[in-house]
Point group: C2
Chain length 310, copies 2
């Protein structure tokens, strides 16, 4: 999803899509190219209509107050980019911008699996593990716009080393990229490992993804089951700790890796329940809006400003 550019039109009360379009960043893209695509999509969708407000979900860290993009982890050129000011200049209306995990959390809160909640923790388990917090019906950014980083809770200090330098982080054990990497390594170490997974991959280790591992687990592949059980345990422990610290009303889980079947969810729920104190609720539900959560969230972002322009 690197550099995916999506653009919702705001139509509120009740919110409906007027139109939407989608285009991925081309290979070798940079910020200028992304921006050109973004504006082109927007102009095409607006058809000359003047927007009342613009909401943007950006795939990377953002300073939401100054509306400056800190960087993209995938596309060069976004470093300290004043995206909010630029769009405001162009569309002559208020522009709100936040990172995709926060915006997706807002989308689930307003339109998805968190509609009745006062607080929620949205966690996306995809190539990485990200999180967005809604507390008292608002995004909680934290002092450095970094709140919600559940991916780097250590749940197994003796576990494998994560990119962050620590060992046994939730992201190291439960993110799609790492699960696939571990599967490749374990098969290459012992050719008996993961019989169904090898078959599904047609013997091509490079083609192994978390999705393929889920399919292999459904066929009772022992390696696939071991890796997904470990991922579910890690997520459950991370969620249990977050419940103890933040005690949100609900946890909402999205992202491809969470589509790994009933056993995966059962282990998450059980581990989270065992990790949290008994007085603390642990309600864990699937995301309702899937890949569209950031788009709905961008609508909610613009909408929230229109309802309360303070």
């Amino acid at each position: 999803m690197a550099g995916l550019v999506d653009w919702p039109l705001v139509q509120i009360d009740p919110p409906v899509w007027r139109a939407h379009a989608r285009r991925d960043s081309p290979t070798g893209a940079n910020a200028e190219i992304d921006l050109e695509i973004m504006l082109d999509l927007a102009d095409g969708l607006l058809e000359g209509v003047h927007p009342d407000a613009v909401g943007v979900s950006f795939g990377g860290p953002v300073d939401y107050a100054s509306r400056v993009v800190r960087l993209s982890h995938h596309i060069p050129g976004w470093e300290e980019y004043p995206l909010g000011a630029l769009l405001q200049e162009k569309y002559r209306c208020n522009v709100l911008i936040d990172n995709d995990a926060n915006v997706a959390a807002l989308g689930e809160f307003f339109f998805g699996a968190g509609k009745s909640c006062n607080s929620l923790f949205y966690i996306t388990v995809s190539t990485g593990v990200g999180g967005g917090l809604i507390l008292d019906q608002q995004i909680w950014h934290g002092a450095d716009n970094m709140a919600g980083e559940i991916g780097h809770t250590v749940v197994d200090p003796l576990g494998p080393r994560c990119l962050c330098g620590k060992h046994g982080c939730v992201e190291r054990l439960a993110s799609g990229l790492y699960i696939a990497e571990d599967a490749r390594l374990l098969i290459s170490q012992d050719v008996q490992n993961g019989p169904f997974l090898r078959e599904l991959a047609n013997g091509n280790l490079e083609s192994i993804t978390a999705q393929l591992i889920s399919r292999a687990a459904a066929l009772n592949d022992p390696l696939a089951i071991t890796l997904l059980d470990r991922a579910a345990h890690a997520l459950g422990a991370g969620i249990g700790h977050a419940a103890n610290l933040i005690n949100p009303q609900r946890f909402i889980l999205g992202g491809g890796v969470t589509k790994s079947g009933e056993r995966f969810w059962e282990i998450i729920r059980q581990t989270a329940r065992q990790t949290a104190l008994p007085q603390i609720r642990v309600e864990i539900v699937p995301a309702a809006l899937e890949d569209y959560a950031p788009l709905w969230g961008a609508v909610a972002l613009a909408d929230s400003w229109l309802s309360d322009p303070s």
Copy 2:
């Protein structure tokens, strides 16, 4: 500090003490006896003056919205006690009540080490480990009034078993009661352990407290140093994880165990820094108000209602 009854008078802008008094619960106390002491102290301090509002810091879980005490872990009879309604009936003014960790956090926020902050995490390391969160200048209670439970973050899954059933919780490794218990056990297992600690305790293991262990550590007692280093590591890891999830502006540490010297603080800061992501600030400072934090917090509680009675 079980059942300690303290009672601040509200005088705002600037807040000053008019008077204060302190009385511990007698041995074998129950809720009725506690309440009698509490009302007696209050009447003595008020001297007939009618209060505008009353703030209460209670040493146990409280439903702050309904102002009902859930229970005291030390004194029987407080189960589901409608303390707020009872005081309101008696003093004919608004009564606000919250648990002591939350109220102490509010005290440090308004009058202590968190005065300039928008958010903070107050952690008390005493007989147990408790926490109170201020987010966006308000107490964050969580959906079950249980937010801030940093004491039950697991930092060493292979560590000793905690009362909560898990292994290697922050509270199991860093609370005063458990540190003292571990010291007694280790000395009784090998009489060579903890030479200075044994001397300070005059050979009476039962007299060992966390405070005595701090004094022994200052004399370079190896057992005392090992136990306090382990406690500091546990606190640092717990704080680092809380920083990743919540990203508060500041961590404020109070309670007797935190008076264990520069080495103790150094390890906490270092471990927290290594555990949190590099983009996340980790500012850890000592509490300013010490044992008076709950009293100041109760003033702030009443004051906040007087400024905004909503």
